[in-house]
């Protein structure tokens, strides 16, 4: 695996065969392509977490921690959204990304925003074959409200090449977050097989009078 540098990123985005192409659309400004990463802009769709009366979050429960219907907000370019200290919302990149099967990537916060207390992405890995707008987990870890303006560069994409290509591309699987066009809420509840297995194994260890 090696990191794609500026020239390689430009070449990957210009690949004539669309299946081999690194797609970042719209790339509004070529200066977004840096020495070893591509700056990504904040998109216009957000999901704000609704404060509920449930005492706990059970991501595998019937009501996931965040659902797509939770206070969906749309903020056009030129307007803004305020993220208060400690607040957590889901956003997405403005750009739609598609990685060919031979490339992987990581999405990272831009350091300038990090210094203001804004955490942009906690789930950094982008799988080969992924297509969609990247969901950003936005948290204000600072002590003052932060004004978020769609269109500003908030994240960066580092792209890594491999010598081969995967046969089990994200694009071919029945993946949870396939080709999203905006922020996606968690899909942990889809992993019920895994949970059932853990419960089954757990029951072998638990005594009838156990906790």
């Amino acid at each position: 695996m090696s990191l794609l540098l500026h020239e390689q990123l430009m070449a990957a985005m210009a690949a004539p065969n669309i299946l081999e192409r690194l797609v970042v659309t719209p790339l509004l400004d070529e200066t977004q392509v840096g020495p070893g990463s591509i700056d990504l802009r904040l998109g216009t769709e957000f999901i704000e977490t609704e404060r509920r009366s449930e005492a706990i979050i059970d991501p595998y429960g019937d009501v996931p921690a965040i659902s797509d219907s939770d206070n969906q907000a749309f903020v056009p370019l030129g307007r803004h959204l305020v993220l208060h200290p400690g607040q957590f919302i889901l956003g997405a990149t403005l750009e739609f990304i598609r990685l060919p099967d031979s490339l992987g990537a990581q999405v990272l916060s831009r350091s300038s925003w990090g210094r203001l207390g804004l955490l942009v992405a906690t789930a950094v890995a982008v799988q080969p074959g992924f297509a969609g707008c990247l969901t950003l987990e936005l948290v204000n870890a600072g002590s003052l409200p932060i004004r978020l303006r769609p269109g500003l560069r908030v994240a960066q994409l580092q792209v890594w090449s491999s010598e081969g290509r995967t046969e089990s591309s994200y694009a071919t699987g029945d993946e949870k977050y396939r080709a999203p066009l905006g922020p996606q809420s968690n899909r942990l509840a889809w992993e019920t097989d895994e949970l059932d297995r853990i419960r089954s194994i757990g029951s072998k260890f638990l005594r009838a009078d156990g906790p």
């Binding site: 669309i18 719209p26 400004d29 749309f74 056009p76 030129g78 269109g151 694009a171």
Partner: protein, 419 residues
């Protein structure tokens, strides 16, 4: 001043003030609506105060002044009902940005005098447009509102984010274009003597002249809207119309031209702009269904029917000319064919075709390509049209592409996207 006039003045002032309070701090898209209605309220508050202070509001005698205050109170009810209906729509944030940009494009492409669009989710599940200030004829002075006027874009409440049916919205925007000057342009282009001749034949056979004139105006307006939508959006209008069309059968003489005749006209427009070969390549069976449907209404032979159909044929060249003059940004078949392969790749890989070969796509190219590619995916069959129209993925995909294309286009022009 009589106490009863002072009392009425106080009522007017208080009620106008209550409405004014509801309009405060309304910013963003559609705020010209709040501004215009606030101005009306301020005028009414001043009138109410004048009635209380002893000065006659209009200088007329007491009886006239009381009657005027009572009328103002009634108008306040109308004012309130309009404000209550639309106030939540100003600067709303619950609609995809792509939908806002799509409406902006319709305003730019079809309205000669522009508009400040106020998007309203209609509880009757209908598309329509409404120049809101026309609801206040007695309250607006000529200089109350300068600049662009608010126009309500009513979208189906249960399915507002529908991009595939945007051509139907284009037809509805045509009705506002009609009020903004297209009607008089059509009049100028029409051979009035020939039309009168056609209508006179029906009148000579006992058809009520006044009713016939009204129907002629209504049919002409509907066809103008069809021609505008078909000229601007191309085959998408044909496909979207197919969702609402009845099958072959008896035509009913009413306010609208026969659906079969409307399809025939749409096909003639598509042929005029070289679209037919392109549709035939992608959707031959669907096209054939429209061809079979077109021009085959089961006619009643009523003299009014003959006169109206004849007069519509007579005004057709004028309809086409007016539409071509207005729709300078119409989607062309050559622009579509040039990008056809690239568009198919983008659709296959589910990449929004916002920017193609470095150029921002028009919303009509995006929607047309989605219709064409979804017909391939769902099957070339007219029964697929309603399924495509309500397909969530197709609509979200198109709206996202429209959003990204609009941003890329504005960025290229070095102008901020509208908020």
């Amino acid at each position: 001043m009589d106490a009863s006039l002072g009392f009425l003045g106080r009522l007017v002032e208080e009620r106008a003030q209550r409405i004014l309070t509801r309009l405060e701090a309304k910013r963003g898209r559609g705020s010209t609506f709040a501004a215009a209605f606030s101005t009306v309220c301020e005028d009414l508050i001043a009138q109410g105060q004048a009635a209380q202070s002893g000065a006659s509001p209009t200088g007329k005698d007491f009886e006239v002044a009381v009657r005027e205050m009572l009328r103002t109170l009634q108008q306040l009810d109308i004012l309130y009902s309009v404000v209550a209906h639309f106030e939540a729509d100003v600067g709303r944030r619950d609609l995809p940005v792509g939908l806002l940009y799509l409406v902006d494009e319709l305003v730019k492409d079809l309205l000669p005098q522009s508009a400040d669009p106020l998007i309203h989710l209609d509880d009757r599940h209908m598309y329509s447009t409404l120049p809101i200030l026309e609801t206040l004829p007695g309250l607006l002075k000529p200089d109350t509102v300068t600049g662009i006027h608010p126009v309500a874009f009513n979208l189906p409440g249960l399915d507002p984010n529908n991009a595939m049916l945007a051509p139907i919205l284009a037809h509805e925007v045509g009705h506002t274009s009609w009020r903004q000057g297209i009607a008089s342009e059509l009049d100028q282009e029409t051979d009035q003597a020939a039309v009168k001749g056609a209508l006179d034949i029906a009148v000579s056979k006992g058809v009520d002249a006044s009713e016939l004139t009204k129907m002629y105006a209504s049919w002409g307006q509907e066809l103008m809207c069809d021609v505008l939508a078909a000229t601007l959006t191309g085959p998408s209008f044909l496909f979207a119309s197919g969702v609402f069309l009845p099958g072959p059968g008896h035509a009913v003489l009413g306010t609208h031209p026969y659906p079969q005749d409307r399809v025939a006209l749409t096909l003639r427009i598509l042929e005029r702009f070289d679209w037919i070969e392109c549709i035939e390549r992608q959707a031959p069976k669907t096209l054939q269904w429209f061809v079979d449907l077109a021009g085959r209404p089961e006619l009643s032979g009523h003299p009014a029917e003959t006169a109206l159909r004849d007069s519509m044929s007579l005004i057709e060249p004028a309809l086409l000319k007016v539409a071509e003059n207005l729709c300078t940004k119409r989607l062309t078949a050559s622009a579509f064919v040039e990008r056809e392969t690239e568009l198919a790749d983008f659709h296959r890989l589910q990449i929004p075709p916002a920017v193609l070969s470095g150029e921002a796509s028009s919303p009509w190219l995006i929607i047309c390509s989605t219709w064409m590619n979804e017909i391939v995916r769902f099957g070339d069959d007219p029964v697929a049209l309603p399924r495509i129209a309500v397909d969530d993925r197709a609509n979200r995909f198109s709206l996202k592409a429209v959003e990204l294309a609009a941003i890329a286009s504005c960025w290229g022009e070095d102008e901020p996207a509208s908020a």
